[in-house]
């Protein structure tokens, strides 16, 4: 039972929540909340550390037992200390540290029939979390991310993805245009979503391939667009100039699999 704010484990957890650089350095990330922690364990990952409050252990007895028996180390903390590592408004008293997942998806493994999503410099963690959740729900086989997307291990992405982070194969690449070019050259259908000189997505008969979506403000880079075989867009009829990135991604992904 830890009650001291100066405890090294507590400090480490708080830093893992806040800093992407520290997560990379330690190759660890955190998950908070009953559902997401049990989701992680159910997806086959064992927390290296499980931190809980006494009230959580009573209130969520079943989930508590399940997570605790699969964790390398379990520590009870006071509500006050939990508040220090918590990233949420109403903490449930469930917090896990996981080792980063071994996620690799190389171009040669991408089959021509499957549906994949590629994100270039998606910056908002809520958007990225929602996008991963949608990709999983629609049966996408994997996600490719440029290395300047926001950190997929950030607490907001992990939570917003509703556990998809644990399950969806994904690959982070330093050179997304080169990666996509290689896929295009190997016969994979690649689609850049861009409003410029693009085809109405409903006029194409899409069945699998890779859909590229870009940054919330500036969209895809020219390099990424040029690496794709097709340019597609969601036709807009209203007076709004744009769609929210995760709403646009939802429609584009849906068009690929509907």
């Amino acid at each position: 039972m830890i009650t001291s704010r100066d405890n090294e484990t507590v400090k480490l957890c708080a830093k893992l929540v806040k800093s992407a650089a520290f997560r990379r350095e330690r190759s660890q990330f955190t998950a908070e909340g009953v559902r997401i922690c049990t989701d992680g364990v159910r997806s086959g990952y064992s927390p290296s550390l499980f931190i809980y409050t006494s009230s959580a252990c009573e209130k969520y007895a079943e989930e508590f037992a399940f997570v605790a028996e699969n964790s390398d180390r379990c520590i009870e903390v006071s509500n006050e200390i939990f508040g220090r590592i918590s990233d949420t408004k109403s903490p449930q008293g469930f917090f896990c540290v996981f080792n980063m997942l071994d996620k690799q998806e190389n171009p040669y493994r991408i089959n021509k029939e499957g549906s994949f999503l590629a994100c270039e410099r998606v910056q908002d963690p809520s958007n990225l979390g929602t996008i991963l959740r949608t990709a999983e729900a629609l049966g996408f086989e994997g996600v490719i991310l440029s290395d300047d997307c926001c950190d997929i291990y950030s607490p907001k992405v992990v939570r917003g993805s509703m556990g998809a982070v644990f399950r969806l194969p994904c690959c982070i690449t330093e050179d997304l245009p080169a990666y996509i070019s290689e896929l295009s050259e190997n016969g994979v259908e690649t689609y850049a979503s861009t409003p410029r000189n693009a085809t109405d997505i409903t006029s194409l008969d899409i069945c699998g391939g890779v859909m590229l979506i870009g940054n919330e403000g500036s969209g895809l880079t020219d390099g990424a667009i040029e690496a794709c075989r097709h340019k597609v867009m969601i036709p807009m009829r209203g007076r709004a100039e744009s769609l929210n990135a995760s709403a646009a991604a939802a429609m584009l992904m849906w068009e690929m699999v509907r």
Copy 2:
């Protein structure tokens, strides 16, 4: 130029930002940021109050002149005071108070060919903002909201909607099931989105009508579902149990107009 924290105008603005009850009481709401304030004015609404910082007036000279000349009253405040009314991390120094919009959409005005969205107890302001933005971008003609949805005039909804709040006709109703029943009886196609006993949305030939989406956690109430002529769903293939409300709404709305 206001520099005092105790200024009554500043206090009033801060309360309008925070309290939905106070917004209703005053029949006013706020918008913050260069884009959203100019959007409101461009949509034909005159701010009753425009609050700005001196740096904003220099940095955004054109927008400043446009908003200022259309506002009933303009007040310069210090950066410190602006921080007190601001709801954002990086304030731009643009803040407007608008009178609530006269938004009415009665069932008899809903034409059978148009596309409308109805929201029942959508609770998250980011979701509602994104949903309104998507509805406008896809050319929906109006939105019907149950009165237990989150406040459409909350700063997060106004911002997330990218100004759609100003332009999209909408109606807030105390009894959504009764409202929808009336539409159904009058020959309008009404669609409840629900996973229970529903038809795959791709198997219907939808062309206009009203799409109902429900609460983030519990979905639509039985009463709302029964009021609809059709029950529809987005078929899910992955392991995720659900979709984010605004992502699901995007796909459902897109299916209605694609």
